[in-house]
Symmetry: C2
Subunit: 384 residues, 2 copies
Amino acid sequence: MAPDGERRARVALSFLAKPGDLVLGAALRARTATEVLGLVTGADANGDALLAGEAEDTALRGALPRWRDRLGDIPSTARLAAWQDSGLRLIVPGDSEWPTQLNDLGDTRPLLLWLHGSADLRLTCVNSVAIVGSRAATGYGQHVAIEMAATLAEKGTAAVSGGAYGIDASAHRGAMAAGGDTVAVLAGGLSFGYPQGNRALFTAVAGQGVLVSECPPDARPTRPGFLVRNRIIAALSRGTVVVEAALRSGALNSARHARELCRPVMAVPGPVTSEYSAGCHELIRDYGAMLVTCASDVLGHVGLAGDGVGPAGPRSGPATPRDLLDPVSVTVLEEVPVRGGRGPASIAVRAGVDLDTALRCLGELAAAGFIERCDRGWRTRRLS
Amino acid sequence: MAPDGERRARVALSFLAKPGDLVLGAALRARTATEVLGLVTGADANGDALLAGEAEDTALRGALPRWRDRLGDIPSTARLAAWQDSGLRLIVPGDSEWPTQLNDLGDTRPLLLWLHGSADLRLTCVNSVAIVGSRAATGYGQHVAIEMAATLAEKGTAAVSGGAYGIDASAHRGAMAAGGDTVAVLAGGLSFGYPQGNRALFTAVAGQGVLVSECPPDARPTRPGFLVRNRIIAALSRGTVVVEAALRSGALNSARHARELCRPVMAVPGPVTSEYSAGCHELIRDYGAMLVTCASDVLGHVGLAGDGVGPAGPRSGPATPRDLLDPVSVTVLEEVPVRGGRGPASIAVRAGVDLDTALRCLGELAAAGFIERCDRGWRTRRLS
């Protein structure tokens, strides 16, 4: 539990500086929130003397007037209490519900988080994946987001997303439909509840998961605010899946944040004829994002493949087109070992065919790329 | 031009051994075709003495009886002449039309190729890409194959594919619709013309491109023959694109051959809900195939991006979601250099905003991941 004074100072500062303010972030590396607030209010008589020399202090000195201009925005104790009475709670670094992975954000770590909902944010996010994408999603994208979030929920992995229409909403709906936890990080305040059309969804999320915002509860979201918010989605989760995104979609910004945090970036492919998958394809093709087709793929990449079925696990069918071989060739192929090697005569005996037939099949199998010669006869070759 | 004796010997051997026969391939490394044929017919009195000791000679000695059994299959000179009168021509290594890239196949290099069509095979394949996929293609896959082959044709790159329904046929149709060359490599003989339903297509290909087969003209295709044939498609072209393929599709075998030949393997993504794209997704996800969405992507990967528009070239939109920024932030962002760095005061002057506004925008842009601090102020960051 963080000390009360620090908590109050962080709350005050959150009404003065914008989310992700790097100058404030740097200042909080060197000073307590109480000290920084003292510099803003002028309560610290030595403030100006302290702020000389260092480049960071120069930046801080430059920011102080801006923050001072907003001192009137700090709400009264009664106002804060009213928000908390309405069901919101407030966490700061050091609280037991604070997700420590947010510390990876360095100087852009949120000052505090407003929460609303029944789930514990820290526990929920331990096993969570961000599912993001375009507001202007297609039926295909919404279907994939719902299925993926639902399957992840069934395997005990929560969804983290924004509060937008389209993929964000589908991810929350899918997770909740499967009885799972879901985390919606809003770009505006929790009481403001943007967009209005999703308020019923937000009520449902609060009932089954948790709503999150670093903004004052009555704050209206700003355009850059959505992009700044995306760092929280990326930092809370173990990895980010972009389900559908056009080339300039804001969802790609979430992928960028995840990448900078060294979290896996994944993208779901779609028709190349759909502009709403073009951003996903660009991520895979040009930025090293991993192609994922299902929840199992995702769990494999974030290290949560508890059931052993992930990218490295068994699949519904091998890539080798054995079905196209005639039955005798299949029988012969089955007697060719993966390692070591075996001679044609031994293969013939095991396969129950004569040597000529075995030799013919081995030749065809080799020409077709299934097997190769080695010191000890023949062995199978693998595509990988 | 290959010597007549060698040509005749290769023709004879092509009726005795199956396509891609490794024993024959190895034998032809050490001996001329005339010498090998002499061993089969027994014309070489020292044959048995020659075949002692070496492992490869042991294999050759084992194969001779099989080949001798088929000596009666060698057609008469009149029969060969009739095929050639019907429009077929025959090339062997050393001929001017022989595509030398087939030599990369080593011991599985075709003995010879039967051709039918107006195009020169070697010249056509210099700039060519294999476009392959499932017979059971969807409308989506056929559309993509047609568009890709047509665009490649417009840029002077020929299509190489098989003769099957679905993706193969679509690739040929797309190339021809754009007035380009196309190469169809059949698994059976050119006179047999399998499948029957594509005979009109084959006639069109012969008129505008070239039909290819290593099998005797009247040979019926065999199931393993399709897989053996795939190595020729992979070897003729600069790279292989799998447009649509189910998990066990034979098209994946073409990808395997291309990979073994160190040619780029590319795959077109599709809906994850389509089983006909599952093989493509597996290639990208698990086997390192490159995701391609259009002809430009393909040309970039095979080193034919003549117009500078490939995976490394300009795209229709950057991945950065600048559209989501407010106009002032965009103005400020435009003054942040890619290299070197620039101070806030200088950025403010250039952007025509006051220092406070510049500092606010720079903070937001940094928090949103667009820019970063450096020794000399601020610079933009890149996703890659």
